[in-house]
């Protein structure tokens, strides 16, 4: 039996001011804590690690200890073991990026890369440009350094270059510390930046002399269509963040960052201060796991599974969701982005959704400025197809209930259909 006893934080009034900026949403925390046995979560972007064969991981870990026990248990080099950096260069070559092992350093997931980059580049008030919406973890990592984050809207081809250009024109040369983008199967929008836009982005970055940070966790999870070259393959100046979280498992906390040498040197300094070095044990295990070809079959299985789940979600959306809703149709990755009429507030609606046993991620969490209230991110990566269908059905009921109210206003001429919601 649990207890309702509260344990207070004695130090609640001792924390640094910068933490005020990284507060999470009270509403979201509230409902994250709420659970019922049959809750269907469409909110979290958790990989389907159940498909990663545990025997293969166990064998890799056992091998690692048997053959390199001393190294695995010891401190390591701050930029990562040479062996794993060699492995990463091979993985990068497969997506068209030619690197030397010394061009990259290993991080604790790409998430640490985001933190290190912001720590390296950002002073309070500095401008960072990103897509709107963008990855909530990036917003959190950046926010700790108190930047001024500007969002550039997207369409089905990714970040709108005309709008980026407008913003750059306003900010001027070197007017931002960097441009952050997730070109492949973007989190949360699910869209992919077209080859033309990729080229244009790099042109603009050069013209305005601003570094581009390419975050590419989902690039290898493509369900259909041809591979698109990463920005880093088109331009050596691009800072690239990669991760083992989606091609192997997030539990190992392994990612990497490649950057022009001077930048990499700065990031390394910051990394040393942060954690001396990454986990050698995890690195050795990953090195062993990626020997041979089994990991490729596992990745294929993961991709096929995600594709089936994407199909289930799109089919369920088409079957259950009201005509007023619009959603993206991702060719890969984890997420579908749903846009409801402007007047719908998805934050306020979450309470009702939780009551009905389904969760989603309200859209405004993916913006630094309160936009996206009428949007939601749905994750298809984790739930089984039947659960996805049921979750979407429940969610559709909630939306219908809200829309019924809106329709009553519209029918009475009290609300125009394209009207923007209050606040």
């Amino acid at each position: 039996m649990g207890t309702a006893r509260v344990v207070f934080d004695r130090w609640h009034d001792r924390y640094a001011e910068r933490l005020a900026g990284v507060r999470s949403s009270a509403v979201r925390d509230l409902f994250a804590a709420a659970s019922r046995p049959d809750m269907i979560s469409l909110s979290g972007g958790m990989p389907a690690v159940g498909l990663v064969p545990h025997d293969a991981v166990a064998a890799a870990a056992r091998d690692a200890v048997h053959h390199e026990g001393a190294a695995a248990l010891q401190y390591g080099s701050s930029d990562g073991r040479p062996e794993i950096r060699a492995l990463i260069t091979e993985l990068m070559a497969e997506i068209g990026v030619r690197l030397q092992p010394s061009d990259l350093l290993v991080t604790a997931g790409a998430q640490q890369g985001l933190d290190l980059l912001a720590k390296t580049f950002v002073d309070p008030g500095d401008i960072i440009i990103c897509e709107g919406p963008t990855y909530v973890g990036a917003l959190q990592a950046f926010s700790a350094y108190q930047p001024d984050i500007r969002c550039v809207p997207m369409d089905d081809d990714g970040m709108r270059m005309d709008l980026l250009e407008e913003l750059l024109l306003e900010l001027g040369p070197r007017g931002a510390k960097f441009i952050y983008t997730i070109p492949n199967f973007q989190n949360p929008a699910g869209v992919t930046m077209s080859p033309e836009r990729r080229r244009r982005l790099l042109e603009l970055a050069h013209e305005y002399d601003i570094p581009v940070v390419e975050d590419d966790p989902y690039g290898r999870l493509r369900f259909e269509g041809g591979h698109m070259k990463p920005l880093r393959a088109l331009d050596d100046e691009v800072i690239y963040l990669g991760t083992f979280s989606k091609i192997f498992a997030p539990g190992l906390r392994l990612g990497w960052v490649t950057a022009p040498r001077p930048i990499l040197a700065k990031i390394l300094l910051v990394k040393q201060a942060a954690d001396l070095c990454g986990s050698n044990f995890a690195q050795v295990t990953a090195e062993r796991y990626f020997k041979g070809t089994r990991w490729r079959r596992v990745l294929q299985k993961l991709t096929t599974t995600y594709a089936e789940r994407r199909d289930a979600m799109i089919a369920a959306l088409e079957e259950h969701f009201p005509a007023e809703a619009r959603w993206t149709k991702p060719d890969g990755g984890f997420f579908v982005w749903v846009e409801l009429p402007k007047f719908v507030d998805c934050n306020a609606m979450l309470a009702e959704a939780v009551e009905r046993g389904v969760t989603y991620a309200p859209g405004d969490g993916f913006y630094p400025d309160g936009r996206g209230k009428n949007c939601m991110r749905l994750a298809f990566c984790y739930a089984e197809p039947s659960a996805i269908n049921e979750g979407i059905r429940r969610l559709a009921e909630v939306i219908e209930d809200r829309l019924e109210l809106y329709r009553a206003f519209i029918a009475a001429g009290a609300l125009r259909e394209e009207e923007e919601g209050a606040a």
Binding site: G2, L415, A423
Partner: protein
């Protein structure tokens, strides 16, 4: 050994964070006063914990739904644990701003003109075709649109013209199935805390809330940086007397006990307009009741002790 007091806080309301802050402060005060204090989050384990711990009384530091709407009060009645603050009926009435206003109007207490509309009236009965009648019904713009049952100004909008009315109603109706449209009153915003009941009833000095700019909304209410507080309020002695009289009458009209906070406006003609009555007012560092207590020369600990003693007295008297 002093009595064991369960301080109830947190829970699943949208005001969870504020409640945890209130609960922390109340816990500290009761501990300082020598009680044995058991801080409890309102979770699925609450009843089991209360049964196991058998507190002598419960201090309700919950805000919003479940804490102020009669839910926790009914539960504590059932469990036989005396609790602080108004009883079930009083909480149920006060929690619904529309019902409160009906009660006040019936008793001849001043409250701004208003109308109430439920989501069913819109969905099933075509109420949206009558939005044009609203200005005349409440005496013209501007108006305040708010959910009938929600705390801390969540879902509240000031509307200056007919164009904004529908959006504001829809926004309010995402927090509750009932929304009210109330004539906007310009003037001095006052929060008047009342402690005790019957012969022991004390009205604390009114606290004036002066927004630094714009509306005193939820974010400002949560952050003391955006408003200036004046305790006692910068009003005349006659005005203070009138405000105090009205607060006392509201407390009594709604059959409150132990503690309540009456929120009101003092218009430019010196007339009082009651907006609502809170049966579990905030007790955080930036809350209004603690400020009022300080202005009265009372310590926070003394106020909290008086409130808990009133609840403990009900245990002794078996009521």
């Amino acid at each position: 050994m002093r009595e064991k007091i369960a301080v109830l806080m947190g829970g699943r309301s949208l005001e969870r964070e504020v409640s945890l802050a209130s609960g922390r402060r109340v816990t500290d005060a009761l501990t300082a006063a020598g009680y044995r204090v058991l801080p409890l989050d309102v979770t699925a384990d609450l009843v089991a914990t209360i049964r196991a711990e058998r507190p002598d009384a419960a201090y309700i530091a919950l805000h919003g739904k479940y804490g102020e709407d009669g839910t926790i009060q009914e539960l504590l009645e059932f469990l036989g644990v005396p609790y602080t603050g108004p009883g079930v009926v009083s909480c149920t009435l006060s929690w619904d701003k529309s019902v409160t206003k009906h009660m006040l109007a019936e008793k001849g207490l001043p409250t701004p003109a208003w109308i109430t509309l439920t989501s069913d009236a819109f969905k099933e009965m075509g109420a949206a075709t009558a939005l044009d009648l609203i200005p005349a019904a409440v005496g013209g713009f501007p108006v305040a649109v708010k959910p009938s049952r929600q705390g801390s100004a969540l879902g509240m909008t000031k509307v200056d013209s007919a164009e904004g009315l529908a959006e504001a109603l829809l926004d309010a109706l995402s927090y509750d199935t009932s929304a009210l449209v109330e004539k906007w009153v310009d003037g001095v915003e006052l929060a008047v805390s009342v402690v005790g009941d019957g012969d022991s009833l004390t009205v604390l000095p009114p606290v004036e809330i002066a927004p630094k700019e714009g509306l005193y909304d939820f974010s400002a209410r949560m952050s003391a940086d955006d408003v200036d507080f004046f305790a006692p309020a910068r009003i005349t002695a006659e005005q203070t007397a009138e405000v105090v009289r009205v607060a006392r009458e509201v407390h009594e009209a709604l059959d409150c006990r132990d503690v309540s906070r009456v929120d009101m406006m003092l218009d430019i003609h010196g007339r009082v307009h009651v907006l609502e009555c809170n049966t579990s007012p905030g007790m955080t560092e930036t809350s209004l009741l603690p400020m009022a207590a300080e202005a009265a020369g009372t310590t926070f600990t003394e106020v909290v002790s008086a409130i808990i003693e009133a609840a403990l007295a009900r245990k002794d008297s078996g009521t």
